[in-house]
Structures are given as structure tokens and as C-alpha cells.
Symmetry: C2
DNA sequence: CCAATCGCTTGATGCAGGTCAATAGAATAA
DNA sequence: TTATTCTATTGACCTGCATCAAGCGATTGG
């Protein structure tokens, strides 16, 4: 069992240096979409005190696994993470992809145990936020408390959108919706909304959307033929956002 | 637009009387599974002060609709509620059924607007808990804060279970899982886990599970033939819980 | 460098569950 | 009570996606 990036910057280990992963919440360019969003400068410092940053995770490293004790939530600083659950018969269900600025492990609070696993899809940096400390800080910072509840509520809303997608939409609509979701999330981070590299495999996409690899692949091919998408392996270019939106047939 | 049971017990309206719906949180027999769960006696009184109880909702009355301003969450005291979203093309997606002791409207916190609608499936009584007041109270009662976060987290976990169900399980497995879920929730309220009346229609069940009415009906018939369930319209009797669990093929 | 493995694509076929249709039973209104 | 409407059941048929299978490009290790 690896130690989840605890105490990586203790004296004697890797020397502190100018690496990007040593930023504070105050300097972090994700502050505007992450936890600090709701806070004043001095309050950000108080948050910053409890946030722990470690050395980046390698591809396929876990942050936590289903069943692990829950002690902290995690914010993505760079890279992409995948959350998934394992069903009793051993199959995997991907429950979400997490990009920089997004928060993982909110499902662990209810039972004090992680109810899903989280794994890096590529080299990724994360911030660990001990839950006890966050809870106490929340009590004295109403805007943080509020913002945190909003984050949890948003997770619920997003899960419900996925539920709708899975129960009502065709393969094409599901894939289109995911591409639009990634596009939107890229915009928030001031990255290109039309040109990006998928960090997840076709298998992950299919698993997340309740489809097989083959179906995902066929949908991509079809969309390429229709000049809606250009697909070159993991490289995606959205050629016609409007058509894609029409295909997705879901709100916003 | 109806008023969501506000101020129903103001002087001059229906006289206060001995109706069951005038209980306090302290006396409520659902206290053990509802919000008061985490609290000491004197703290329950403080919670009780902010909880508003009104006259029961009739069947098909809404508590709130998608897009309404979010001001409060709601606890079910009796009856059954259904939460649903309307997709842009006008179709409905049922996102959950709510039984006594369960909390609705947690998805409204993120945007300060209800992101789903809630409607009574039968005559139901509910408690309205103004969110601002709950937030302030939470700040001074850590155990309440904790418990509330746990409730939200549980909603996330449950949504993720539904996601898995929808994307991985067959029609039979889905229906079996729902019957077991209702059975379990009945146990918590000390009602029969094997004999109950469905308050929702086949359409609602199908919608929730991503199936058509016809499929739901066929699955019920099949299960009846296999002596797993006895189905008489809305009246359900579980004859063989073990087989039902095997059919459901989902954890716990 | 080549070999081996893994991930992706494409085609052929089958089936679970959707769709359409008809009927029957329950609930509600007159 | 009967008429009307709503809900549930059952059957026949069809289709979108899964499954099975084969081949190919990309990545990794020796």
C-alpha cells in the first residue's frame, strides 16, 4: 500500500525547488475554479495551510482504492484521473473523469471509507485536503462551507445527468455529450475547446458511457465521416460544434 | 404556483390539533434515520425550531419544480415522493423515489435553483428545512454539519450505484435491485421487508430504471412465474429473497 | 532493430429490449 | 350503476448495440 503522497516535502527527501507543484492556493492558476474560489485572500492562506502537495503521480498509480479509509479529498492540479467502482462480479464501472480544478472522493464522506477507486490516466499532480481540517475550517468560514456544499451538490447534479444520459440516449448521443463535456471543461481552463488529446482509452470511454469499445469506435468513425469530428487515435478535433450539440441532444 | 406548505399553521388557518403531522423532531419516530440522527436532545430542539411542518400534500402535488429558487431542503415524514428532471426534448427522467426519513432537494444547493422537480406519489407529509438556517446551525453543531455532509455523500454514492445498474445490468437485474432497495428501506422503518404496496406506476419504475413499461411488466410476470415474487397490481410480495438477491447481482 | 503486446478499427451475426398493437383490468367521474 | 380514462399485461415484430472474430497500427521491451 503506497502512502498517497503524504509528507513528500519533508526535509531530507526531494529538495524543495521551483517545480510548478510547489505553488500555493493563492498562486495557483486554478484557484478560480477550485476550492479557493469563494475565499478572500487571507482566508485562502488558511486553506493553503491545510492543503498538502506531493510529487506527481505516475500513470496508473492510485490515489486511493475502494475500501480504503477516507481521510481527505483531492483536487486535481494537472493531468487526468479516473474514478471507478468494482462490482461484486469483478467488473469495473467508471464513474467519472477528473480534470484540473476538479475535486475527487466526495463519495467517501458518508461511510468514512472510499466507495470508489481513483487512478491516474497520465502523469498527474494533486492536492490532498485532509477532511477533518477542512470541516473545522468550514465551520469558521461560512463561504467555504457554502462552496463545499455546492461542490457536493454539483457532483449530485452531474451524476444525475449521467443517469439520464445512460437511460435515455443512444450511443451516438452519449459519445457526443462526453466530447462536449470535455470541450466545456477545457474552456474553463482556457484550453482549446475544439482540439484536445483524450487521456482515457476507448475502453474507459465505453465503460463510462455504458457502451462497448467497438460501439465507441464505430461512433467515432461515423462522426468523422459526417465531418463533425476529426479523430486521429486519441487526438480529437471538433469540426462542427453545432452538429455535435444537435447529436448530443442534451441540455447546455 | 403553489406555496410549498409555508405558514400553514399560522393562527386563523386550520386549527392546531392532535394530528400526527404536528410532531416535533424530538418525538418523531423517524428521528433515528433522519436529520436528528446525530444530535443530542437539546440540539434536536434547536433543529426543531427551524423545521417547518405543513399540511399533507395531495397525490400529484409538487413540492418544487425544476428552476424554482432553492431555499430549503425537505424531509419526507409520510408517503412517497418522486424526483425527476425534464430533458430538453420534453421527456422525463425519474432520478429517485423518496420514502419517510429521506431527504430531498440536495441537488439544488449548487446553483441555488432546484435542478429537479419533486411530486407526491400519494398523500404525503413533509418537513421543510430552510437551508440558510440549517447552514448557520451546522456551523455551531459540528455533528450536524458532519451528518449533513454524510447525507449528501450518500446521495452521490446512491446515484453512482444507479449509474452502474443502468450501464451494466439487465432488465431483470434492475427490477430485482429496485425491489430489494424498497425492501431494505422498509426494514429501516420497521415495515415488512417482504410485503408492500408500490406507490409508483410501472411507467415511473421503467423510467427510473431506463426500461419501458412493457419490459417492467414482463419482468414482473417472469419473476412471478419463477415464484420469486407475487405481483398483484401494485401489491408486491417477495417470496424468495435469496433468489431475488441472486437475480439482482449487485452488492448488499 | 524486431518481437510481442496492447489498443483500435471494421465486419458479420445474434439477441435483449424497444416499438407497435390489442385487450383487459382499475380507478375515477357522471 | 355505467361511461370514460388511465394503467397494466401480453403478443408479434424490429432494431441498436453486444458479441464474436479478424486484422492492423501503436507502443513497449529485449
Amino acid at each position: 500500500m503506497d502512502n498517497h503522497l503524504a509528507a513528500q516535502d519533508s526535509p531530507g527527501s526531494i529538495p524543495r525547488c521551483t517545480h510548478d507543484y510547489q505553488v500555493s492556493c493563492g498562486n495557483c492558476r486554478l484557484a478560480g475554479i477550485c476550492l479557493p474560489l469563494a475565499l478572500e485572500t487571507e482566508d485562502i492562506d488558511r486553506l493553503d495551510d491545510i492543503v498538502q502537495r506531493g510529487k506527481p503521480l505516475q500513470k496508473n498509480e492510485h490515489i486511493y482504492r475502494e475500501g480504503d479509509a477516507f481521510n481527505a479529498i483531492f483536487a486535481v492540479r494537472s493531468g487526468t484521473l479516473k474514478a471507478y467502482k468494482t462490482t461484486d462480479d469483478g467488473r469495473e464501472q467508471v464513474t467519472g473523469f477528473y480534470f484540473p480544478g476538479e475535486i475527487l472522493a466526495l463519495d467517501g464522506i458518508s461511510e468514512n471509507v472510499h466507495s470508489s477507486s481513483a487512478i491516474a490516466l497520465e502523469t498527474s499532480a494533486i492536492c490532498e485536503i485532509p477532511f477533518d481540517a477542512l470541516e473545522s475550517l468550514s465551520s469558521s468560514l461560512p463561504s467555504l462551507q457554502r462552496h463545499f456544499l455546492q461542490l457536493m451538490s454539483r457532483e449530485i447534479t452531474e451524476d444525475q445527468q449521467l443517469i439520464t444520459l445512460l437511460s435515455k440516449n443512444s450511443a451516438e448521443e452519449r459519445v457526443a455529450a462526453l466530447m462536449l463535456s470535455i470541450s466545456t471543461r477545457n474552456s474553463r481552463r482556457r484550453l482549446s475547446p475544439t482540439h484536445f488529446r483524450l487521456s482515457m482509452s476507448r475502453l474507459d470511454i465505453g465503460n463510462y458511457l455504458g457502451l462497448t469499445v467497438e460501439t465507441v469506435s464505430r461512433v467515432f468513425s461515423r462522426m468523422q465521416k459526417l465531418n463533425v469530428l476529426r479523430v486521429d487515435n486519441k487526438e480529437i478535433e471538433i469540426l462542427d460544434t453545432d452538429s455535435l450539440r444537435t447529436m448530443a441532444n442534451v441540455g447546455s
